[in-house]
């Protein structure tokens, strides 16, 4: 068999087909560019690239933005004025944010929200108005461009936002001080009503994504079972995934969800979802579900493993050991892809160590093949 391209490996594996080598790729947003990255890519590493399929327009809402000093800190203050009231949010931007994509940390990617859109019960109706007046418009250029640039080097995914309830939990209400949980307990009707409004408003967006040139539709859900407990997951996430999957599958698209937290407690519920790819699943020590257990629990799904940043922090030797252990835990390593990182920057030394282990991971893997890989590294 001719050697497969990196793109073929990722797509075929994600579709449940057999491939020649364990797919290994980096997540474009978190990867350095340079000599080690070039070497890793020359040896076996592919790329996954997530871009949006749409743009949004908000109608009948006045948005004003300014820098303000609050509690001796400069914040980026954004006010949304609607006929039913006004809400605001404050973002704190570290020095250098917006100057360049320096990849110093999350500061470059997501500013910290120091005041969330929803603070009080009366904010819900205003945000509902904004949601109901948001229009999603297809814009496929970013995906077409990425596909053209990548070619056989990897896959392009359409970025969909957090699930409606997750949008409330980690974006608009926020979990600081447990605020979302407190709101959910104190004002269940308000939370529920807004969640339903978000879900309804996003239906056209699912359609846009499903019809896009993307290979995979990716929900950046950031699922962690400690925050999203099984009761919440079953009630609010499962039905939404079912709705999304119906649309995606009609158009031949795979559906992925970013689950980089501790999802052990959700294991059985995840099995019930129509998701095709569990993306960024972090094994212990950062997650709480060994990948082998995930593969057993989800026989119709593919896992894209997120490499734990805490292992990288211990250096290349820990990276080598963790990767070999991962392979042994998941034999024969089918229905599996490995992402170099979905969280932070990988040092050159760690990246090359990961590459050294994975470049010879010919499938189906056996204990003997892994022993051979291990010997070759000494």
């Amino acid at each position: 068999m001719d050697e497969m391209t990196r793109r073929e490996r990722i797509l075929k594996t994600s579709n449940g087909e057999r491939v020649d080598k364990l797919p290994f790729f980096h997540n474009w947003r978190h990867m350095q560019i340079g000599w080690a990255e070039r070497e890793a890519r020359n040896r076996c590493m592919g790329i996954s690239w997530a871009r949006p399929s749409y743009v949004t327009k908000i109608h009948d809402v006045d948005i004003s933005e300014q820098w303000l000093k609050k509690d001796s800190q400069m914040v980026y203050h954004r006010v949304f004025s609607t006929p039913v009231g006004t809400v605001y949010q404050d973002e704190m931007r570290a020095p250098g944010t917006g100057q360049w994509h320096g990849m110093r940390g999350w500061d470059d990617i997501t500013p910290w929200h120091v005041a969330r859109l929803i603070k009080e019960p009366e904010d819900y109706k205003v945000v509902k108005y904004i949601v109901e007046h948001t229009e999603y418009i297809a814009d496929y250029y970013p995906l077409e461009q990425a596909k053209n640039w990548l070619g056989d080097e990897g896959v392009v995914m359409d970025i969909q936002p957090h699930q409606p309830m997750q949008t409330l939990m980690i974006d608009w209400v926020g979990s600081e001080g447990g605020r979302f949980f407190i709101h959910h307990a104190k004002y269940p009707d308000l939370v529920e009503e807004l969640c339903q409004a978000i879900a309804k408003s996003r239906e056209p967006m699912y359609e846009i994504g499903a019809k896009s040139p993307a290979d995979i539709i990716w929900c950046g859900d950031n699922i962690d079972g400690v925050l999203v407990n099984p009761r919440l997951y079953e009630k609010y996430f499962l039905p939404e995934y079912e709705k999304m999957a119906r649309i995606c599958h009609q158009h031949g698209k795979l559906l992925a969800s970013h689950m980089d937290g501790r999802v052990g407690v959700l294991k059985d519920l995840i099995a019930k979802t129509p998701l095709d790819i569990i993306e960024a699943l972090h094994p212990p020590p950062m997650g709480d579900l060994p990948i082998g257990e995930g593969l057993k629990a989800w026989p119709d799904k593919v896992i894209w493993v997120g490499f734990p940043g805490s292992v990288y922090s211990m250096g290349p030797e820990a990276t080598r050991k963790h990767t070999l252990d991962l392979l042994r835990d998941t034999l024969p390593c089918e229905r599996l892809c490995v992402e170099a990182s979905t969280e932070n920057i990988v040092s050159n030394e760690n990246l090359l160590m990961l590459t050294s282990v994975l470049e010879n991971a010919e499938l189906p893997l056996t204990s003997e093949k892994i022993d051979k890989i291990e010997k070759s590294l000494k």
């Binding site: 999350w106 001080g177 447990g178 400690v226 407990n229 407690v265």
Partner: protein
């Protein structure tokens, strides 16, 4: 209604995560002349203990732990004006913070609430707290425990910096250092010289109780 029934009502309202119920139960208890400290220590605190048990058994999740702590706060708000004297004796002092560059505070806040329920005085420095500020707070408040939280692998090294700064200020031996946060591993905690890595807020608080109890026995 007997005192026991008032205390039971307080306990139940916390276990049932009932905001309105706890305020009503607290008002009725105060009107009936139940001592405010008794209402807290023998009504609400046992309610939180049941919530903690349910969390450990997997019947309750983090959300319930957060809400129960908030319900208890509502109850305490009602009884606070009735507290006579100096209130409950503090079992120990904790300085707690999310380290610089990190704004995640859910775990820290739950730990803070649970520590207060256990009778600790907690100096909560908030999020994105510099090493200097933590060390200065330790100098000023002289706690027996320093708690640090980080959710990002990028901010984890700050914890090590704080421990080094405590050493440089000759304060490391005077405090126990406990760490919390998803990316923190036992190996990492050991490598930077922390005393403990909390599995979760509840387990971390148990460890703090264990430390101060051992200290008290020695004294």
């Amino acid at each position: 209604m007997s005192e026991d029934k008032h205390l039971a009502a307080l306990k139940e309202s916390i276990v049932n995560l009932d905001f309105a119920g706890v305020a009503k139960a607290a008002e009725e208890a105060m009107k009936a002349g139940v001592d405010a400290n008794t209402a807290i220590n023998d009504g609400m605190v046992p309610g939180m203990a049941i919530v903690g048990d349910k969390f450990e058994k997997g019947e309750y999740f983090l959300s319930e732990l957060v809400v129960a702590a908030e319900v208890m706060k509502e109850g305490i708000k009602v009884v606070t004006p009735y507290i006579k004297g100096e209130g409950t004796r503090k079992v120990g002092k904790v300085v707690i913070a999310t380290v610089e560059g990190d704004h995640h505070d859910l775990g820290k806040n739950i730990a803070t609430s649970l520590l207060r329920v256990q009778g600790f005085e907690v100096i909560d420095l908030g999020v994105d707290v510099s090493t200097e500020k933590i060390v200065n707070a330790v100098k000023e408040h002289q706690p027996s425990i320093v708690g640090m939280s980080a959710l990002l692998t990028l901010t984890m090294p700050r914890m090590g910096e704080v421990i080094e700064a405590l050493k440089a200020s000759s304060m490391r031996d005077k405090v126990k250092v406990i760490l919390g946060g998803t990316p923190i591993t036992d190996e990492f905690a050991a490598s930077i010289g922390a005393d403990h890595k909390a599995v979760n807020a509840l387990e971390g608080v148990k460890k703090c109780v264990e430390w101060v109890s051992a200290q008290e026995r020695r004294n």
